[in-house]
Amino acid sequence: MGTVLAQLEPIVAPAVDWAGLLPVLLPAAGALVLLMVRSLVPSRLLPVGLDALWTFAVVAAGFVAVVVLWQRDGEVTAFGDQLVMDGLALFTAAVVFGSVALAAPTLPRYCQRVGIDSAELCVLTLLAAAGAVVMAGAADLIVLFLGLETMSIAAYVMAALNLRRLESLEAGLKYFVLGAFSTAFLLYGIALVYGATGTTSLDGIAGYLDTFLVLRDGMLLAGLAMLLVGLGFKVAAVPFHAWAPDVYVGAPTPVTALMASAVKAAGFAALIRVFVDALGVRADDWQPVMFALACATLAVGSVLAAVQSDAKRILAYSSISHAGFILVGVQAASDSGVAAVLFYLAAYAVIAVGSFTVVAVLSGRADDRTGLAALAGLGNRRPALALGLTILLLAQAGVPFTSGFVAKFSVISAAVEARSYWLAIVAMVSAVVAAFAYLRVVVAMYFGDEGSDGSDGAEDSPAMGLGAAAVIVAAVLFTVVAGIVPGLLESLSSTAAGL
């Protein structure tokens, strides 16, 4: 036996820059440590907020790692160029960690109120974050698939975590079945692209397409379409959005916040990697499709948001319409488009987590009091909370002096620079339609009839707690400051996009 082994050539492990992989390793290890501790140590010995605190600490450490790596020269690649920590990956990782850090402080009180085991939620959140970072840093379609599955499977379970609520279970099942279906598309797309180009490496694909003219490109185009379906599902682009409203509404609200921020950011990072970077040469082929997707996503998202009567559902549909805006940036297929997408992702992630946190605070014991009626008179009952939600909603509408405006402005700039005038016009018009949806929430909070549901609401909405308050304040501050002085965030996203 020993002799047999000795005859083989020694396996040379590729050199791995472990420090460069900290953005992936930290959340993954953090999740495993938390899982072990919570499995071995009886719950009564542990303080209540430990899970959330640990999650926060892990992603904070991850954030620090990102900042340190950002300042290093040159990008980190690992595992034989399978994973790359370049500007795009680091920026996305920062968005993911920021989203989780903003979502975590709400968890202790929320879990206690709704009756969810916070340990499970936190472990899954960290795993999903690790998967998201892998996705953003994937330099190979297979690795991208690994990251996507890690993130998605964690997200499926998270959506179904509220066992007392039928909608939550339904959301989990729906998300899982449709998600598995879309994953099949993605895998098939990967296979076809591999068949057409002979490689799964993103750089390899780009190099192949750059060097060789693919004359009989049916297989490549089919693979491209399949990839678009698979990734379009993850970012909830119309017509692959059908799962999103129900899942967003059914999932526990902090989970919804993460799906709208971290999961979406990772999905778009993958979309950029695959389409703008690897398949950029064939932009002429996919741009028209992306154009149509963006238009449909914008129109459907905002129109359907405008006719909902449930705040959480409005936010769910508006998240679809925001995906449309981000697709406008992707469609530009340029560095400035990528920069605009990254800016938008960062701005929207904070806004989304902030908005959903307000909804979570008000959603009551069963996490289902999210109708507009439940918000009636909020302006009088809890003026600070109402003001916070108002600012976040106005930011979603793209009102100036909020990060939402700068985000929309930069996406529109990218589209106009790419001469996609009609897309820019469709985007702005649907922003007006979406604004109607946000105004309905504001009207309910400030100008609605008080008393009809006000007393009822006051009874059932518990104090929000310091964690949620801090999150909302932080989100509002970020939104306003990044709206008034967007220079720093803008230069970071430009650098990440390679501008």
């Binding site: 929309k408 402005f409 700039s413 702005m428 018009v429 922003a431 609605g448």
Partner: protein
């Protein structure tokens, strides 16, 4: 227009714009227990800009009114080429002054019915938005301020309004936002196309883009339309005016005052600064269309005003008519017309602001705005009746009061450019007299009965608030020269800019000439073309109007 004069007091305009917003922040930070301090702080934050504006008025170099003065500039978003660039010239000077004076008057004149803290905070934010729009010399900065004014006004209408306030507020917000949505695309497209055509970096600098006309004719026309739509909604021009009666009628008094006096001018000012100046050729091309819409607005607004049973709605529709005059003056594209238009922007602000204050006083006392419920108010409230008379006559355009000067210049200019349109528009002056005098008669004359006979007259504070309005009305009517001296050089610069950049366009003969003169024969062919276009169009529209009347 080319050069930019420097300021003696550094960043005076920046301070002017930001002081009210800072005041709003102070208000928000104030403890609940000190509600007695709310109004003083608000007043301070609005009187300070007023004082600065008056200082600007004295320091403004009338000889260089065609240049941007007191300007300063900072980089705002470097990566996107956006800068904070402010300055005033003769066009914006009086709008800035009027805005800065109107806010303290509206704050002193009317107390909110409830929740003073957010009310004052929104008013101050609104002031920052309005001032910022008038002084912005960067396209994105302009857009940002143009758009932000929606938010405070939305909350003022929705939170402190009457009747269907939520509906009116939402309608106002969405209409205006829709208009400006396309303008943002146009601004970005303009900057990118300009950069690629002129070979420079992307910049949103108004002067740089306007002075270097490099766009293809068709492109510029499309962009002009996108800009014009945004301004047409704001003005409002027929047929996108429908938000205005609802917003005005349901807004609280201070909201109506600011809406009429200041915010409608954002649209007309935009048409001059970002229409004529940025797109001279397209402005000439679309001038017949704009003048037609203006004339329709005049006649339609006047007829609709005459039909109203609600006094506030009547004043609201009168705004549609008056703003029509400003638009035809602007697109007469000659010195008289544009000077008259700019004067009318200020005049309408003063007159209609005062009218809304007076209507608000009546509503506060009688809790009704139905004209049929009022009557004979002259007897219990003689002072109010007298003030109302003066303000109303100024709005009608009585010689000796401010409205006359502006309307006369507008009609003169319009007559030179689009003769028959001016004739139709002049009928609007008569109609204004009809609806306003009729309304006055029904409200103030006749026997007073019931609650009408008991209505208290103006209080001292209310009287004091009206004094500046009356002073402005009389001063601008009797001695408009100081104002015209400052407006005209800027207007001349704009007209010269149009002439320089539009082949075959020349201003018609000087203002002292009779409208019909031998000079007409010497005009370049290009100009005559426009003249005939306008005239032939006028006959069509005139017939249409005749049909309406029947």
């Amino acid at each position: 227009m080319t050069a930019v004069a420097s300021a003696s007091f550094p960043a005076v305009l920046t301070v002017l714009v930001l002081v009210p917003a800072a005041g709003a922040l102070v208000l928000l930070a104030m403890p609940r227990t000190r509600s007695d301090l709310l109004k003083p702080v608000t007043l301070l934050a609005s009187v300070l800009p007023a004082a600065l504006a008056v200082w600007l008025l004295t320091e403004f170099d009338a000889g260089a009114a065609g240049l941007f003065q007191f300007s300063d500039r900072y980089t705002w978003i470097e990566g996107l080429g956006v800068s904070w660039h402010v300055g005033v010239d003769g066009l914006s000077l009086f709008l800035v002054v009027m805005t800065a004076l109107m806010f303290p008057l509206a704050i002193v004149g009317v107390d909110p019915e409830h929740s003073p803290k957010p009310y004052y905070a929104w008013l101050l934010i609104l002031e920052t938005g309005c001032l910022g729009t008038f002084v912005a010399l960067d396209l994105i900065m302009f857009f940002v301020f143009f758009e932000i004014v929606l938010v405070p006004m939305y909350f003022l209408i929705g939170g402190w309004g009457h009747g269907r306030r939520a509906y009116a507020a939402t309608k106002f917000f969405l209409f205006t936002m829709f208009g400006s949505a396309l303008m943002l695309v146009a601004i970005v497209a303009l900057a990118f196309l300009h950069a690629s055509a002129s070979g420079g970096g992307v910049s949103f600098d108004l002067v740089g883009i306007a002075e270097n006309q490099v766009l293809a004719t068709n492109t510029a026309r499309w962009l002009f339309l996108a800009f014009a739509l945004a301004f047409a909604v704001k003005v409002p021009l027929f047929p996108v005016h429908t938000w205005l009666p609802d917003a005005h009628t349901n807004a609280p008094t201070a909201g109506s005052v600011i809406l009429a006096a200041v915010m409608l001018k954002l649209g007309t000012y935009g048409l001059v600064r970002f229409g004529l100046y940025l797109f001279p050729e397209a402005s000439v091309y679309f001038a017949p269309l704009m003048v037609t819409l203006g004339v329709i607005g005049i006649i339609y607004g006047a007829i609709a005003a005459a039909m109203q049973r609600d006094l506030k709605r009547l004043v609201a529709y009168s705004s549609v008519a008056h703003l029509g005059f400003i638009v035809i003056g602007t697109f007469a594209l000659n010195t008289e017309g544009l000077t008259g238009g700019v004067l009318q922007m200020v005049n309408h602000g003063v007159s209609t602001g005062a009218l809304f204050l007076l209507v608000g006083m009546i509503y506060e006392r009688r809790h009704t705005r139905e004209i049929s419920d009022l009557g004979g108010l002259q007897k219990p409230a003689p002072v109010m009746a007298a003030v109302f008379t003066v303000v109303m006559l100024s709005s009608v355009g009585l010689p000796g009061l401010n409205g006359f000067v502006g309307e006369l210049l507008v009609l003169l200019g319009a007559f030179n450019a689009h003769r028959w349109w001016a004739v139709v528009a002049a009928a609007g002056v008569i109609l204004a007299a009809v609806y306003l005098l009729w309304a006055y008669q029904r409200v103030f004359h006749g026997p007073a009965s019931g609650a009408n006979a008991e209505m208290p007259d103006m209080r001292w504070r209310e009287g004091l608030v009206m004094v500046p309005f009356l002073a402005a009305i009389v001063f601008m009517g009797v001695y408009p020269k100081p104002v015209i001296d400052r407006v005209e050089p800027a207007v001349d610069a704009i007209i010269a800019h149009v002439e320089d950049n539009v082949a075959g366009f020349a201003e018609p003969a000087a203002d002292v000439q009779p409208p019909v003169s031998l000079d007409d024969l010497d005009k370049p062919a290009g100009y005559d073309d426009h003249g005939t276009e306008g005239q032939s169009g006028s006959e069509d529209g005139g017939a249409g109007h005749g049909g309406d009347g029947g």
